[in-house]
């Protein structure tokens, strides 16, 4: 029996060189593989499908970068920029923050929310194809601070016209209590408040979302109903290298 893998990745490759090379070279090659000039231009088409029952996704933020940029880290406190995306669906602060990062390569943002069952796609182009990573984020707007993401996914081993599909879970930014209360959710279930600087979640750290409860499942003060509940995965991401 194999375990269920939501995201199984092999991040780190090493190259073992042909035998004709000297022992000295063999010793030296135990470094990270650098298999292509870092000036290689590549373009990736990114398509995402909303798999939830009733959680529209906020307009996408897609950031291409080299190794070292993190939109968030599991178990760590969210940045203010991530908080604004996760609480209010506003991706601009995150994009601004990413552009100021030395690992930034490119970014694109969606123009509209993605309804349940709907898809959106955009393209990012990079000049360091052999070192490119993708981070993609979007809020589940009928939550207090839930979001889905691909967190620093390695793009370099995608050959031209090859694609890869990932199933994405929902995270909780840990920045706002999951009250589900009237006035606290920016999505169509409530049309309430988005970002609020107060941090009052049970833990001030990013983790996998525990789901929403809803009034139908015993949280009397919730404005959500059973249709707003979700399970993982919440979105399907397909990345295709098109150039």
């Amino acid at each position: 029996m194999k375990p269920v893998h939501h995201l199984t990745t092999r991040r780190h490759y090493r190259l073992l060189l042909p035998v004709m090379l000297s022992a000295l070279t063999l010793a030296a090659c135990h470094h990270d593989k650098k298999d292509a000039p870092n000036t290689e231009n590549r373009t990736f088409k990114i398509s995402i499908t909303n798999l939830t029952a009733n959680q529209p996704l906020s307009p996408l933020a897609a950031i291409a970068h080299t190794h070292g940029y993190h939109a968030f880290m599991d178990g760590q406190a969210a940045s203010s920029a991530l908080e604004k995306l996760a609480e209010g669906g506003d991706h601009q602060p995150l994009i601004i923050q990413a552009k100021a990062d030395s690992h930034y390569l490119d970014s694109r943002t969606g123009t509209a929310p993605i309804a349940p069952g709907a898809s959106d796609s955009l393209e990012v182009s990079v000049t360091h194809g052999s070192k490119a990573y993708l981070s993609l984020l979007s809020m589940l707007v009928n939550t207090n601070d839930g979001f889905t993401a691909a967190n620093s996914y390695h793009l370099a081993d995608l050959a031209l016209h090859q694609s890869r599909t990932l199933m994405l879970p929902a995270w909780d930014a840990g920045t706002e209590a999951n009250t589900e209360a009237a006035g606290t959710l920016p999505g169509p279930a409530d049309l309430g408040e988005g970002y609020n600087a107060t941090r009052d979640d049970t833990v001030n750290q990013v983790g996998i979302h525990r789901g929403v409860i809803s009034a139908d499942d015993g949280l009397a003060s919730s404005v959500l109903n059973g249709s707003h509940r979700f399970d993982n995965p919440v979105a399907r991401l397909t990345i295709t290298r098109i150039d």
Partner: protein, 236 residues
């Protein structure tokens, strides 16, 4: 696609085999991805394929039951000792809180039959929920391998969600809510499991009544969705 170039070079095979032909040396990191669940002391075990710690769809062993209901590892480690398995018990030195991670010391399985990895720990507060990785083939090539894993129900105890200190096998109830966020005086959320084999945990119900209701768990804190943990294997 990037691939390793592996050679069957006779001349160097002796030299190279010690470093990469077998999965020889690795560490295992486990991160708690939940927002409100603690893990009891982890067991990270390398063993032959036929000696995995658990298998979904099969009954829990008595040792697995003791781990899932009370966090006890002595039964599982005794089972591993009996088959010359290799393991690291309690690498975190206690509970692993939400968001936290821990890494084992190096495990060297060179020239052994222990080429499969299993990882377990009880999820608190639950009746018999545990995080589980079963029988994962230990990679043979140097690199970092990341696996997101799920929460399982041992199928051995009713998920009554009553916190009463009950942790011994066969004793009803939940040992504790380490976050200090549990309730009391619950009437009980569920009777005996319908599925008495190891299965994917259905999650907990909880309620918002800290002094009564059906559950001593808080539905706003103690629920979770998979994945509950991330296992990272670093092969040297």
């Amino acid at each position: 696609m990037k691939k390793q170039i592996l050679l069957s070079a006779g001349a160097l095979s002796l030299v190279l085999s010690s470093s990469f032909v077998q999965a020889a040396e690795f560490t295992v990191s486990v991160q708690n991805l939940t927002q409100g669940i603690h893990f009891t002391p982890l067991l990270v075990a390398a063993h032959p394929s036929k000696n995995t710690l658990f298998k979904a769809g099969y009954s829990a062993s008595p040792a697995l039951q003791a781990m899932a209901e009370g966090g006890a590892l002595t039964g599982l480690t005794a089972d591993l000792d009996a088959i010359s398995g290799q393991y690291i018990a309690n690498p975190a030195g206690g509970l692993l809180a939400p968001g936290k991670s821990t890494t084992t010391t190096t495990i060297n399985t060179h020239d052994s039959k222990n080429q499969y990895l299993s990882v377990v720990a009880m999820m608190l507060p639950t009746n018999d929920g545990f995080i589980g990785l079963s029988n994962y083939p230990i990679p043979k090539h140097a690199g970092t391998y990341t696996i997101n894993i799920n929460g399982y129900d041992a199928g051995t105890e009713a998920n009554d969600e009553i916190i009463n200190g009950g942790g011994a096998p066969g004793t009803a109830g939940i040992p504790a809510a380490p976050g200090g966020d549990g309730g009391k005086n619950a009437t009980g959320a569920a009777a005996a499991d319908t599925n008495t084999k190891v299965h994917i945990h259905r999650g907990v119900l909880g309620d918002t009544d800290a002094n009564g209701g059906i559950s001593d768990l808080d539905s706003r804190i103690h629920r979770w969705l998979n994945p509950v943990a991330r296992v990272t294997i670093t092969v040297k």
